[in-house]
C-alpha cells in the first residue's frame, strides 16, 4: 500500500538542469540556467524579485515548461508534463501562496488531490483510514498537530507545515518550497526550518526560495544565486556568507547601509494622538502619539494587534473604545475615505488583494487614490505626468506605465502601492509590512524613499514582522503583546533584538 508516508525508504535523486531558457512575453525569466540539486542536501535559491527563482522551481516541478534546455533525473531525461507527473517522479512543490482550503479538515487538505486512494466500495470515503495515514505523515514532522484539530485553530506556520505534509504524502525524494516563510512570523519560521532540517536527516533533498538571508544561512548546504534569470554563482557549506550572496544577487556592493541614516531633529509637533484605544473589550487602554517627521514602529507577534491599530487609524476597522485626534482636533473615520481625506494614506498588508488591482495598469493604480481632474473629468495628461514621476522617484522597473501591474515583480508592485499613497501628499503614512517578500535592492529603494519623505515632515507608523527592519528605520518602537503595550523603546539609544523579543513573547 502506498501513501502511508513512511520516511524510511526515501529514494535519493539527483536533479540536473542544463541550459534552461524561459520567457514570458518580452520578459526573459530564465537565461541559460544550469544547476544540480544533490541528494540529502538543502539548496537555497537566492535572488532579487524577478530574478527567476519561482520560475525555475515551477519548471523543475512541472508547473511550467521551459522554452529550451534539458532536465536530467539521476542522469535520465526528465520532462514533467504537470505537477502530478513530477510527483510521480518523486518531486513535489509547495507553492508560495497558501493553498489550504479552510472549509475542509486537515486530512482532506493533505490528500485533496488523491482522496480516491481511500475510496471503498460504492465510492464512499474511508475517512478513518485517511485520517490515520495523514496523522502518520504529520507525526513524521514532529509538529504536534492532530488531524482532529479544527483547521481554523492553526496559525499560518502550521498551515504551511500542512502543505509540506501534502507534499510529503506523495513520497517525494525532492521537495521544493517557494517562499514558504514569506508570510510567517519569526516563531512560525523556526518551526518550518526545523521541519526542513528533519527532512534532510531522512535523506530528502530540499530546494527553497527565501528573501531572508538569516534563514538561508541557517539551513542551506548550497546557495544558488540567480540574477536577471541567470545563475551567477553557487556557494557551498562554509563558503556561504551573507555579503557574497548580497553582492552577487544585486550585482553591486550592498553596503551595510540597507537602512538610511537617521537625522537628529528637535521635537516636532504632535500629529496623531490615540487615547484610551482598546482593540477588544478585554484589552487595556492604549495611548500612542505620532509626531511629524518621525517613524514609529510597532512590533509584536502576528495577531498582537499592530495590524489592527493601523486598520483602525485608516478607518477600515473600529476600535472597541477610545478616541483619536489629528492635529489636535477629533478624528473619527467611518470609512477609509475619511482617512485619505484627512491626509492619512494606507499601505495594506496584502498587496495583491488590498494594495492594488493587479489587472489594471501601473498608471491606473498610481493615480487611483487621487485622480487628477478638472471638474468631473479625469485629467489624463496630468495623470501620465504623475505616474511617470512616481516611476522615476521610486525607481519602478518598467518601460510601459500602461502595462498591467501583474507584469511586475513583487517588489515593484509594492513600489506602485507606495507611489499611489505618495500621490496624495499625505501627512501620515500607515505601513503594514511594506517589504514583505521584497528583495534587498527594492527594499533599499523603499527605505530611502520613506526616509526622504520623513525628513520632509511626513509621519510614518510602521507595522512589521521583520524586527531588523523595525530597528533599522524607526525612531521609536512600541511592542505589543496580545493587544496590550508591553514595551517601548527610544531607538536613539542602542537597543538589541533580544530586548525587544523579550517584550513580544
Amino acid at each position: 500500500m502506498d501513501g502511508e508516508g513512511r520516511g524510511d525508504e526515501v529514494q535519493t535523486i539527483e536533479l540536473t538542469a542544463e541550459h534552461l531558457f524561459k520567457s514570458y512575453g518580452s520578459t526573459r525569466a530564465l537565461v541559460d540556467v544550469s544547476t544540480t540539486l544533490r541528494p540529502g542536501r538543502i539548496h537555497a535559491f537566492a535572488g532579487e524579485n524577478g530574478a527567476g527563482k519561482s520560475t525555475l522551481l515551477k519548471i523543475l516541478a512541472g508547473v511550467e515548461s521551459a522554452d529550451g534546455g534539458t532536465l536530467l533525473l539521476n542522469g535520465k531525461p526528465y520532462r514533467p508534463r504537470n505537477l502530478r507527473d513530477a510527483e510521480e517522479h518523486g518531486i513535489a512543490l509547495v507553492f508560495q501562496e497558501l493553498t489550504i482550503n479552510p472549509s475542509l479538515g486537515i486530512a482532506e487538505n493533505i490528500y485533496i488531490d488523491r482522496m480516491r486512494r481511500f475510496s471503498r466500495r460504492f465510492g464512499t470515503l474511508d475517512a478513518k483510514k485517511m485520517r490515520r495515514t495523514a496523522q502518520i505523515i504529520i507525526d513524521r514532522l514532529d509538529i504536534g498537530i492532530s488531524v482532529e484539530q479544527d483547521i481554523a485553530s492553526l496559525d499560518l506556520g502550521q498551515l504551511k507545515c500542512i502543505e509540506i505534509c501534502r507534499a510529503l504524502s506523495t513520497q517525494p525524494s525532492l521537495i521544493l518550497l517557494d517562499e514558504a516563510t514569506a508570510f510567517l512570523g519569526w516563531k512560525e519560521v523556526e518551526a518550518v526550518l526545523a521541519v526542513m532540517r528533519r527532512l534532510r536527516e531522512e535523506g530528502v533533498t530540499l530546494g527553497f526560495v527565501s528573501h531572508h538571508i538569516a534563514e538561508v544561512m541557517g539551513v542551506a548546504d548550497t546557495v544558488i544565486i540567480l540574477k536577471d534569470g541567470a545563475n551567477v554563482g553557487e556557494l557551498h557549506g562554509a563558503d556561504i556568507n551573507a555579503e557574497t550572496i548580497h553582492t552577487r544577487m544585486v550585482g553591486r556592493e550592498v553596503s551595510a547601509e540597507l537602512y538610511p541614516a537617521r537625522h537628529e531633529r528637535a521635537a516636532s509637533k504632535t500629529l496623531l494622538e490615540l487615547s484610551g484605544i482598546r482593540l477588544a473589550e478585554s484589552t487595556e487602554d492604549l495611548n500612542l502619539t505620532v509626531h511629524a517627521g518621525e517613524v514609529v514602529g510597532i512590533a509584536g507577534l502576528k495577531g498582537a494587534g499592530g495590524e489592527q491599530i493601523i486598520a483602525i487609524i485608516a478607518g477600515d476597522q473600529r476600535a472597541a473604545a477610545g478616541a483619536m485626534a489629528l492635529n489636535g482636533s477629533p478624528y473619527r473615520p467611518r470609512l477609509p475615505t475619511d482617512g485619505w481625506l484627512a491626509g492619512i494614506s494606507y499601505v495594506p498588508g496584502d498587496r495583491a488583494r488590498e494594495g492594488l488591482i493587479v489587472d489594471f495598469s501601473i498608471l491606473d493604480n498610481l493615480v487611483m487614490a487621487a485622480s487628477p481632474h478638472r471638474g468631473p473629468v479625469f485629467n489624463k495628461a496630468k495623470a501620465v505626468d504623475i505616474a511617470k514621476g512616481a516611476v522615476r522617484r521610486l525607481s519602478i522597473k518598467t518601460n510601459d506605465i500602461r502595462a498591467p501591474c501583474s507584469s511586475l515583480s513583487g517588489g515593484n508592485m509594492q513600489k506602485v502601492v507606495l507611489g499611489k499613497c505618495l500621490g496624495t501628499e499625505p501627512r501620515l503614512m500607515l505601513l503594514n509590512n511594506p517589504t514583505r517578500g521584497v528583495d534587498v535592492g527594492a527594499r533599499q529603494d523603499i527605505y530611502r524613499a520613506i526616509r526622504k519623505l520623513v525628513d520632509g515632515g511626513l509621519a510614518v507608523l510602521l507595522v512589521s514582522e521583520d524586527l531588523t527592519e523595525l530597528l533599522g528605520i524607526s525612531e521609536r518602537l512600541i511592542v505589543l503583546r496580545r493587544g496590550n503595550v508591553s514595551g517601548s523603546f527610544d531607538l536613539n539609544q542602542p537597543c538589541t533584538e533580544q530586548e525587544v523579543v523579550r517584550c513580544m513573547v
Partner: protein, 344 residues
C-alpha cells in the same frame, strides 16, 4: 559568431546555442499566437456583426433597404438604452435583473400621465425609474444583500406594482404630443434613435473620461482595493443603480411611444436580452473591464440576428436556439481567461 564554428570547437557551446535558438523560436511563436488571439478576441464582435449583415443581405435583398435599417435601429433603441445602464452595473461587478420590470413601470406611468402632460410625461416616467433604481441600490449597499438577489426580488415586486395599476389590462397611449415627441420622425430620422445616440455618447463620456467612470471600473476590478484607496464604494454602487433606473425610465418612454400602449407584460425578459447584449459585445460579467461601444455592438448583433432571421423566414423556434448559441459562442471567443482565475 556562427553555430558552425562552434560545432567543431566545443560541444557544450553548441548545445547552448541550440537551446538558445529553440528558446527564441518558441518565444516568437508564442508571441505570434498571443497577438493573433488578442486580435480575434478584440475584433470578434464587429466581425460577427459584419458576417451577419453580409449573410442576411445575400439571403434576402430586402434586408439592406433603408426602411429595414430604420426598423432595425428602432428595434435597437429600447434594448440599447437599458444595456447602456447595465454596462455600468456589470463593469462594477454587479447585476440587475429588475430592469425589465422598471421599463414596464415607466411605460405604465407614461401612459397614465401622457393625456395630461403630453411629452412631459417623460418626467414622471424617469422619476419612477430613478426611484426604483435608487431603492435597488440602497437595499443592495446598505442591506449588504447580493445584487442578484435584490434585483431578482425587485423584478417580481415591480411587476406586481404594474399589475396593480393596470389590473392586467392594456392602457393605450394616443396623446399625439407624446407619441410624436418620442415615436415620430424628423427628416426621416426617428426621434428615438436620436435620443439613443445622444445617451450613448453621454454614457461613453461618463465611463471613459470622468473620475466616476474610473471609480466604477476600480470597484469592479477590486472592490477591497478601491475601498482601501479611499473610493466611496457605496456611493459609486448606488450611483450606478440610479443611472440605470433613469435610463430604464427613458427606455420605458421610448417603448410606450413605439407601441402606443402600455401592457402589463411590457419589458418582460428585457433584462436577459440586455445582459446578453452587454456580454456578446465582450464585456465580461466579472467586472472591471468593458466599454460602451462594445455594448452598442452587442445590441446591434442581437437585434440584427432577430431581424435577419425574421426576414429570411426562419422558424421562430429555431431562432431561439440560434440566439442562445450565438450568446455562448461569443463569450467563448471573447472572454479573457487570463484575468479570470475561477469560472463560476
Amino acid at each position: 559568431m556562427t553555430t558552425d564554428t562552434l560545432k567543431e570547437e566545443d560541444p557544450k557551446a553548441r548545445d547552448l546555442a541550440k537551446s538558445k535558438q529553440m528558446a527564441s523560436a518558441v518565444k516568437s511563436q508564442q508571441a505570434a499566437r498571443r497577438r493573433s488571439m488578442g486580435m480575434v478576441k478584440n475584433y470578434f464582435p464587429i466581425a460577427l456583426l459584419a458576417l451577419l449583415c453580409i449573410a442576411f443581405a445575400l439571403m434576402n435583398h430586402r434586408f439592406v433597404t433603408l426602411s429595414n435599417l430604420v426598423t432595425v435601429l428602432q428595434q435597437t433603441v429600447t434594448l440599447l438604452v437599458v444595456a447602456l445602464g447595465l454596462t455600468f452595473v456589470i463593469i462594477a461587478g454587479s447585476i440587475d435583473l429588475s430592469v425589465g420590470s422598471i421599463v414596464g413601470m415607466a411605460t405604465v406611468v407614461a401612459a397614465m400621465t401622457a393625456p395630461s402632460l403630453g411629452a412631459l410625461a417623460i418626467i414622471p416616467a424617469c422619476a419612477v425609474g430613478l426611484l426604483a433604481g435608487t431603492i435597488n441600490g440602497f437595499v443592495f449597499v446598505k442591506g449588504k444583500v447580493p445584487s442578484f438577489i435584490v434585483t431578482l426580488g425587485a423584478m417580481v415586486v415591480y411587476r406586481g406594482i404594474i399589475l396593480i395599476f393596470t389590473s392586467g389590462t392594456t392602457i393605450s397611449i394616443d396623446d399625439e404630443r407624446f407619441v410624436n415627441a418620442f415615436g415620430g420622425n424628423s427628416l426621416g430620422v426617428p426621434h428615438s434613435v436620436v435620443i439613443a445616440v445622444v445617451l450613448t455618447v453621454v454614457c461613453l463620456l461618463i465611463l471613459d473620461t470622468t473620475v466616476f467612470g474610473r471609480e466604477v471600473r476600480a470597484v469592479g476590478g477590486g472592490e477591497r482595493v478601491a475601498a482601501l484607496t479611499g473610493i466611496r464604494v457605496e456611493r459609486v454602487k448606488i450611483g450606478i443603480y440610479m443611472l440605470l433606473g433613469l435610463l430604464a425610465g427613458v427606455a420605458g418612454v421610448l417603448n410606450g411611444a413605439w407601441s402606443m400602449a402600455a401592457t402589463a407584460q411590457m419589458g418582460t425578459g428585457l433584462e436577459l436580452d440586455a445582459i446578453g447584449a452587454v456580454v456578446v459585445g465582450g464585456t465580461p460579467l466579472t467586472g472591471g473591464q468593458g466599454s460602451v461601444l462594445r455594448t452598442v455592438l452587442g445590441c446591434l448583433i442581437m437585434v440584427i440576428l432577430s431581424n435577419g432571421m425574421d426576414m429570411v423566414g426562419l422558424d421562430p423556434y429555431i431562432q431561439n436556439i440560434a440566439k442562445g448559441v450565438v450568446l455562448v459562442a461569443a463569450v467563448f471567443v471573447t472572454i479573457d481567461r487570463s484575468k479570470i482565475s475561477v469560472m463560476k
